[in-house]
């Protein structure tokens, strides 16, 4: 299935002209999930020609402004542009009062239903699930309540080889079982192995979003083997103390988490504004974990083209 991540912003703390605050859009087979929503996110979505009315689920990691100050503007623009379908927001509880107060101050009654789903402060839970994907939070270790998110496509059923199934006169009501892996026992008693009458379906993808966080080995088990890990790397490794003081990670810490959890690819971001050129951050991370990518606004990562 198609599974693509677009980086809308990847800077920490203060927005600049070229590097925008955190926001990412995950397109999982034409389901659009927005992850964080720093100031200006709605303009970035326009810039990259991503129709924001197609977003039905928004996940906010924590309530530092560089991760959500663009949300109220997006909610209002969706309203002003005639949205009428549901919007689901997953965030820490305090955000609900902030949204409500701003809608009330402008005397706005949204045209569409907005559902607010509070994220637990202390346990990891499934936040959203349908037949194709499951999305969970994972507690991070920052200066305020902060949550990462794991997106996992569900294992798809096997595909029937139509010609063979028809030749064997397998009745239609057995198809589902066979798609789920059952063998077929012919009238003669001969067992036809499932892999003779089905083929594997498309691979499933997984993505973990970890920002903002201290180096935290508790994450390793949770993200084991994931296709792509986004891990913040606010600082270069020489500023490990500064990272610790501010609840952040360095490049080499991000890469160490990637290595220890055997993820397939690492995307680093949330860069401090002090770094004008990000190449050194990439090199530092690659030193520890080769398959590292550097987040930048407009970058699109197609999971079908990543190392597997």
């Amino acid at each position: 299935m198609s599974f693509k991540l677009t980086i809308l912003g990847c800077n920490s703390a203060v927005p600049s002209l070229e590097r925008h605050p955190t926001a990412q859009l995950l397109n999982a087979n034409e389901r659009f999930f927005l992850i964080d929503c720093g100031e200006g996110t709605q303009v970035r979505l326009r810039e990259y020609q991503l129709n924001f009315q197609r977003i039905n689920h928004i996940f906010i990691s924590h309530l530092h402004g560089d991760h959500y100050f663009g949300l109220i503007g997006l909610i209002c623009s969706m309203h002003l542009l005639g949205r009428n379908k549901d919007l689901h927001i997953y965030a820490h509880q305090e955000l609900k009062a902030i949204i409500d107060l701003q809608l009330s101050a402008s005397n706005t009654e949204l045209n569409y239903p907005l559902f607010f789903h509070p994220i637990s402060e202390d346990i990891d839970q499934v936040l959203y699930e349908d037949e194709k994907i499951s999305i969970s939070n994972m507690i991070l270790n920052h200066t305020i309540n902060c949550s990462g998110f794991i997106f996992k496509e569900k294992k798809s059923k096997r595909k029937i080889i139509k010609d063979k199934i028809e030749k064997l006169n397998i009745p239609f009501d057995k198809y589902n079982g066979i798609k789920e892996g059952a063998d077929w026992i012919a009238d003669s008693g001969v067992i036809i192995k499932n892999n003779e009458i089905t083929i594997k379906n498309t691979p499933v993808h997984s993505y973990a979003f970890c920002t903002d966080t201290l180096y935290n080995e508790a994450l390793i088990e949770k993200i084991k083997g994931i296709d792509l890990l986004y891990h913040e790397a606010t600082f270069k490794k020489d500023l490990a103390d500064r990272a610790k003081q501010t609840g952040h990670s360095t490049t080499s810490e991000a890469a160490t988490i990637a290595k220890k959890s055997s993820v397939k690819n690492l995307l680093i971001g949330h860069f401090s504004k002090r770094y004008k050129n990000l190449d050194e951050l990439l090199l530092e991370s690659k030193d520890v974990f080769k398959n590292t990518y550097l987040a930048k606004s407009g970058l699109v990562l197609d999971f079908n083209n990543l190392s597997s």
Copy 2:
């Protein structure tokens, strides 16, 4: 004195890539006043190389998001970038709770003192005054409480003609009276008229900011003869009904207010996103009031070069 207005954004309702939501910076002799602060204002200030730490007073007309959603980000960036001097915000009361709630959710205690000055909902008052300038609100007529602002430089004292004053042996302690217009009576009893020993000082400037508002003749007396009137012109004149329904004005209504109040120049803005090309709006306004300018991001109007 130098008196310059920079347009940071001039669109209504929904931000677009090229046209940003309302924000303006008035530089009155190196005092910087920010008027409205739509989403992305801090990035616009960077784009035009205007140091936002020099802003000490922010005026918010009303609590529709396109006029203030960028404020909390600006407040936080000022904090993160080490501000320690006072910041004064003038806005309707509800904004205080919105700011407080967002600072509390991120566990932020600002490094600098933030003073909140509520704007009256029903009377015009002086909001700020010093020896050089006076700033007042004026009640507008919109769908929620909304205020315009009038900036008036104070009449400056006359300048002494040094040579003449010295020749007449006028003592130093009389200088102030003479700067304020007093004649000089010489020992001989001869009266030296003030205009023989002083010259006019630099002209004073005035600016009125009117957004968002219905056509409202109550404004005329308040803005009589002002140097520059910013008046919203959300719609072309064929959409007068739509303007009325939404609490806005048309081009010709803005220009009629300018004409009836004998202002010297008119700047129209707050354009509906439906207008790709704004030339027709300018023409419609010029039909009624010749000295019309079109607001666009980055436009700088120097009051010393405007028609007077």
